[in-house]
Subunit: 150 residues, 2 copies
Amino acid sequence: MVGAREDDAVHSLRALILAGERYRSVLAGYVGLGVTEAQAVSYLAVHGDRGQKELADDLGLTSGAGTALVDRLERQGIAQRSPHPQDRRRCLVRLTSRGQDVVEESRHCLESALRDVGAEELVQTAVLLRRIAERLNERSAQIEASDAWS
Amino acid sequence: MVGAREDDAVHSLRALILAGERYRSVLAGYVGLGVTEAQAVSYLAVHGDRGQKELADDLGLTSGAGTALVDRLERQGIAQRSPHPQDRRRCLVRLTSRGQDVVEESRHCLESALRDVGAEELVQTAVLLRRIAERLNERSAQIEASDAWS
DNA sequence: TATTGTTATACTCTATAACTATA
DNA sequence: TATAGTTATAGAGTATAACAATA
């Protein structure tokens, strides 16, 4: 990992992250949600039903902001709270069928973004993207745990 | 592009976009910027000096929000306005050296996210990521130009 | 007449902190 | 005593619309 080739890859990853953020903003407007709400839908699509605390933590929100977020999702019929079976303090957040419709809608966009990837490359592409995502999440967690910069 | 293999790739792309958004939020806090400000720095790192209008458009902001954004960047010494050589209505936005320090800081994070990619794969990885980013941007532009959903 | 950018106002979303309930 | 969630308040960031300057 040396020199111009790495620079290119970093540059491309930067561009992809920006493209992802733009996609999020545009799609959110299209389906009538805010950016944070659309992120939550995507998060629940990836992780399945999840505690409200985990949702808020992983989206970088405080508990109060998490409450407000899930309130809005419930009001719009996108997700529902359900009580945690063991712990009565907690609640699980679950997509409604309308929430899953939004997921399906976004699937079309993501599929067309992968249109150029040949069928024989799809498996290794999936592995590659997932691995980069995991590394990025690890790095974010490290930064979050460290002190401020400069 | 059929069946479970595609689902995996879409799933991975969804996870990568989420990881990118989390990275943005965490890094922004680390360097003392807001999310939109950090997006602008990244945008300028990818595209070089750029008109304020292009910056605002590509970040999904109105012109008024673009003015406020660049005002904040200037106030924090991250970027500067300079007059457009041909068109006196326009202004170019350019990173200062402090802004480029922020870019360098983020480069370390992105490099470590690519740590698992072998040197011999870096070139094709860069091409792949870039192509997905371009397709995603095309799709976002299409959605933006269409009517609202459902 | 169209485009770029600025200004002023209002609104949405999130952070913060104090609080309740449960573990 | 610690954790999950709620509530109330304040603040940051953005949208909107009217405006000025330039093309």
